[in-house]
């Protein structure tokens, strides 16, 4: 196992490359989920305001 982790002495280079790959792609996957929460919140606020306006005029 430690032989596998050492990667023939290049462990630091190999694992940091794979870590960058994993972290950047994970961030790329999470970004639209966060934006989705924000957009849905805005949309619900917009719907509530529209309903209030229509109740006031009625």
């Amino acid at each position: 196992m430690s032989q596998f982790l050492s990667m023939g002495g290049y462990g630091g280079y190999v694992w940091s490359s794979f870590a960058i790959f994993a972290i950047v792609l994970a961030l790329d996957a999470v970004a639209p989920l966060l934006k989705r929460r924000r957009v849905l919140r805005d949309l619900r606020g917009r719907a509530r305001r529209a309903q209030k306006r229509s109740e006031e005029t009625a």
């Binding site: 490359s17 950047v24 792609l25 934006k35």
Partner: protein, 252 residues
């Protein structure tokens, strides 16, 4: 009308695309993660180490698929930008702009892992060689497209201006690809060839191809996920977007 053309028109409608993408997404993520696991296991465990570079060569399994994706996504963005400019299809504008950050992410991975690979093999983190410089220009083109899109208030005008920039930047793609042939570079030439035999043992090649497939699926999943949100935002005043938000209200 021809059923295929009819389907194409339907696909261009934001609510239809939103529902279709929502159904496809779990499959794309699933296939992406499975092929990623297979490719990583093959690349890190099953592939034999290189006779010259020992285990440092394994960086190829993240570096080269990312490099391929950086070019592939740029071409995808430019094609959608072209469609958006000519036919003013809203979906193409959204797809072009949603693919820019993903392409920038892959370009960044390519540059960062290449730099980490360069240190032990070339003795330097960075050199202003043709391949490295043109890939860096590609990253700046992605940033330019994203920046221009954010800088203009009207969303649709912004995406058309950014699409135009993306089209101009396409001239960089052949430069990146052929840079290793046109100039004397530190970077090695192509190892994997579409035409003719690849210069790599099949035990090392198959995990690389699996990783290439995995990154395609991950791109598709991220793209659809981003395009769905962007369409909701773009069509915030429309009835279908309100219904989606209200239906999702308890879940989120």
């Amino acid at each position: 009308m021809n059923p295929l053309v009819l389907w194409f028109h339907k696909l261009g409608s934001p609510p239809y695309f939103y529902r279709l993408a929502g159904r496809l997404l779990p499959w794309l993520w699933g296939l992406g993660l499975i092929s990623l696991a297979v490719g990583l296991y093959g690349g890190l465990v099953l592939a034999p180490s290189d006779y010259q570079q020992s285990d440092a060569f394994r960086i190829i399994y993240v570096h080269v698929p990312s490099a391929w994706m950086s070019l592939f996504i740029y071409a995808f963005m430019a094609v959608n930008g072209f469609i958006a400019l000519i036919w003013r299809i809203k979906l193409s504008e959204t797809l072009a702009m949603a693919s820019a950050p993903i392409g920038a992410a892959f370009t960044f991975i390519c540059l960062a892992t290449g730099s980490i690979w360069g240190k032990p093999m070339w003795g330097t983190w960075w050199t202003w060689d043709a391949r490295l410089t043109s890939e860096l220009v590609l990253l700046f083109l992605y940033f330019g497209v994203m920046g221009l899109y954010q800088a203009i208030e009207d969303r649709r005008q912004a995406s058309r201006a950014a699409a135009f920039l993306a089209l101009v930047g396409i001239v960089n793609l052949p430069i990146v690809h052929f840079s290793v042939n046109w100039w004397n570079t530190l970077h090695q030439g192509s190892t994997v060839r579409l035409f003719g035999p690849s210069l790599i043992d099949s035990r090392m090649l198959w995990p690389l191809l699996v990783m290439a497939v995995a990154t395609k699926f991950l791109f598709a999943a991220s793209l659809l996920s981003r395009a769905r949100v962007d369409l909701l935002e773009l069509e915030a005043g429309k009835d279908w977007a309100r219904q989606v938000a209200l239906a999702d209200g308890d879940a989120a």
